[in-house]
């Protein structure tokens, strides 16, 4: 899609631009295709009756001298247009009244473009709360532009701004700003101008009091751990009832389809292919919604910048910056919402590294595999009087995933993503109440975007997997019990044949052809391993894994079982994650890369474990 006629919202980071955009336009859509850039401009519409106008929300920036790929994109669009986004015919400059100096600095550069503009003056309430005055008339005189003060929470000034948006052909071209030789001159100009238009009598006591707790060397760490614990709990546990509901809903739908459609290929396609495929997408929604609500609230209220400050040192050890922490923690529940939330990382290189290591965090889908194998093969003995060996091994697998991820990040930052343009540098915005409407718009936008773009990929890949396990069809004799029918069908399907054909590849790590098919089948989702094992060993796993545990104990060698555990710590056994990586990086190259490097890690580690254990 190419955008030809539009106006653009431009402003510094945290100036309230995106909130204003969300409140004005409601739903929005993604525009353009920017290879390698993951923060995308979004497009919305403002309309009254007959006229409708397209509005582009560009990433915030401090200056027209870019220091990152995202800033470069914004500049390119503003200066001459991008191949998929034309230069805007008008600019709404969003000026933060509480941070007027930096807004004026950027303004003096944007004004040089000579594009017609109006100014939306946000955070006016923030100035009043500190007994201050912002002189919007003086800004009008200085710039020659119309200025629209906005009081965000009360919605005052929004109507006037909306009216002005619709008369976009009548905007003025800004008065030519002075010419500056050096950055210093521009800074001084914006500082002096700021002093002339803004008086603030009182310091922001709310912010400084909150910061004396939230950034305190001890209190800050404690509150950080507390907030992250709630965050983790919410995506790990609170999402489970909803996910269970969705899963049981789809499995009853599957049963319903199997019962009511004439038995055969068609009902199998609808039930086990389509319904199961769609269900495997929808099941991620609770986690995506909860994680995004958290991230948007933390970001909009100003805490995310503080959290990044607190953990920057730790993440710095591995070459990452503070903000990578949130996506990685989220990935412990599920890599999909985790990877989506990596958009909060401003540096392109850090964002790529974070997304590529996110699947190494031990997601909840690995848990069924871990518990099955551990409970079948690790004796329930107590070590050191207190710790159960099973629990210690489980915890060890969790830690191993996270630590390896950070080490891989370190290697990536030293090799493929080296040379960050700037180290951690952040401005602390004042604490603010998030706008509920903006929260709603952002979260529903993310959820819909996931369903539309990642969902279609995931459903398509699920159908391919269904095809591979359902074909070629086998003659069904009714006298054989159903569980054995499934076993035989799977064994001689394409997936089964592939499993047998590539079994020699997995032989060095101790996998027989059955385990190989289990590994192949779990590409749909890791936990599918359990049901595939159930089918292959003819065990009914619908109610309990007990019979499967016993069968596995008797048939799989101990060393192979440990090797399976080792393999699942690292292998990227999840087409949904690959789908979302493709969506977020804009290319299949990165999911392919992640798959290969994780496979090498998995195979290597499983080989070592198998060799030691046998």
């Amino acid at each position: 899609m190419t955008i030809n006629s539009h106006i653009a919202f431009v402003g510094t980071p945290n100036c309230g631009k995106t909130t204003l955009f969300n409140v004005l336009t409601g739903m929005r859509k993604k525009v353009g295709n920017f290879p390698g850039i993951t923060i995308e401009p979004s497009l919305g519409n403002v309309s009254t009756g007959e006229k409708s106008i397209a509005i582009l929300d560009l990433p915030g920036l401090y200056s027209m001298l870019a220091a990152s790929l995202d800033e470069e994109l914004t500049m390119q669009v503003l200066q001459k247009g991008h191949p998929s986004i034309a230069q805007p015919h008008g600019i709404v400059f969003v000026m933060d009244a509480t941070n007027i100096e930096k807004s004026l600095y950027l303004y003096s550069q944007v004004a040089e473009l000579g594009i017609p503009m109006i100014i939306a003056l946000t955070m006016v309430d923030g100035v009043k709360a500190r007994s201050g005055v912002i002189d919007d008339i003086a800004i009008e005189r200085l710039t020659g532009l119309s200025v629209f003060p906005i009081v965000g929470h009360k919605g005052i000034g929004l109507d006037a701004l909306k009216q002005a948006l619709l008369q976009d052909r009548e905007w003025n071209i800004p008065n030519a700003p002075p010419t500056f030789e050096e950055i210093r001159d521009r800074v001084h100009w914006s500082r002096n101008t700021a002093d002339a238009v803004l008086t603030i009598k009182e310091p922001d006591t709310v912010t400084s009091r909150l910061d004396s707790i939230l950034l305190h060397p001890i209190g800050g760490i404690l509150s950080f751990v507390f907030i992250m614990a709630i965050f983790f709990q919410s995506i790990f546990s609170w999402a489970i009832p909803f996910m269970d509901l969705i899963e049981s809903g789809f499995s009853s739908l599957e049963q319903l389809a199997l019962q009511h459609l004439p038995p055969g290929l068609f009902s199998d396609l609808i039930a086990r292919g389509l319904i199961a495929g769609v269900g495997s997408v929808i099941v991620f929604l609770p986690q995506i919604i909860i994680l995004n609500v958290f991230v948007v609230i933390l970001e909009d209220c100003g805490y995310l910048a503080r959290a990044a400050f607190l953990v920057d040192r730790f993440m710095g050890i591995f070459g990452l910056q503070g903000r990578s922490f949130i996506p990685l923690l989220g990935s412990y529940a599920c890599a999909i919402p985790g990877i989506m939330s990596a958009r909060i990382i401003p540096s392109h290189r850090d964002r790529m590294t974070t997304m590529l290591i996110a699947p190494l965090m031990t997601c909840s889908a690995r848990l069924p595999v871990y518990t099955l194998i551990i409970s079948a093969f690790i004796p329930p003995m107590i070590i050191g009087r207190f710790f159960s060996l099973q629990a210690v091994i489980l915890a060890g697998l969790y830690i191993l995933g996270g630590l390896t991820g950070l080490l891989v990040a370190f290697v990536m930052k030293k090799s493929m993503f080296k040379g960050d343009v700037i180290p951690f540098l952040i401005e602390f915005p004042p604490y603010r109440l998030p706008s509920l409407k903006s929260l709603f718009v952002t979260v529903s936008d993310k959820a819909l975007d996931f369903l539309k773009s990642a969902g279609t990929v995931i459903v398509a890949l699920s159908l391919v997997l269904w095809f591979l396990s359902a074909f070629p069809r086998m003659e069904i004799t009714d006298s054989i019990p159903e569980i054995q029918q499934q076993q035989m069908q799977l064994e001689q399907s394409y997936a089964g044949q592939m499993g047998k054909a590539i079994a020699p590849v997995f032989a060095p790590i101790g996998f027989d052809w059955k385990l190989t098919i289990g590994v192949l089948g779990s590409f749909a989702a890791r936990e599918v391993f359990v049901s595939v094992m159930g089918q292959l060993y003819g065990a009914d796993t619908t109610n309990s894994d007990a019979s499967l545990r016993e069968t596995l104990q008797q048939t799989i060698p101990f060393a192979s079982a440990l090797s399976v555990l080792a393999f699942y710590v690292y292998a990227l056994q999840c087409i949904s994650t690959m789908g979302i990586l493709k969506r977020e990086t804009g290319s299949w190259k990165w999911p392919a890369f992640a798959f290969v490097y994780m496979f090498i890690l998995a195979y290597g580690f499983a080989y070592i474990v198998h060799a030691i254990a046998s």
């Binding site: 401090y62 200056s63 001298l65 220091a67 509480t98 941070n99 100096e101 930096k102 600095y105 950055i183 210093r184 800074v187 500082r191 700021a194 603030i200 950034l215 060397p217 800050g220 760490i221 910048a305 400050f309 607190l310 953990v311 920057d312 040192r313 730790f314 710095g316 503070g322 343009v421 700037i422 180290p423 951690f424 540098l425 952040i426 401005e427 602390f428």
Partner: protein
């Protein structure tokens, strides 16, 4: 006159930035945010375990990682 770096002054110190050397893009961005030689600022806090520092000047509060790529010289006032 005492020339110091940000690393070893106590929290709460007021100082004047005298020079920034090293990583040109980082220095440019610090300058653009108003952190220029001659700026009087206060060291507000350090993140735990030798992490980023937070400084305030005018109405601005910024935090950054004083990593090895820049050398920051300051003149301590109090």
């Amino acid at each position: 006159m005492i020339l110091e770096t940000l690393r070893n002054i106590p929290i709460g110190t007021t100082a004047i930035l005298t020079s920034l050397e090293g990583n040109p893009v980082f220095i440019r961005r610090l300058n653009e945010m108003g952190f220029l030689p001659g700026t009087k600022f206060r060291l507000l806090r350090r993140a735990p375990f030798g992490g980023p520092v937070e400084v305030s000047y005018g109405h601005t509060r910024i935090a950054f990682r004083p990593d090895a790529s820049v050398t920051i010289h300051i003149h301590v006032l109090s």
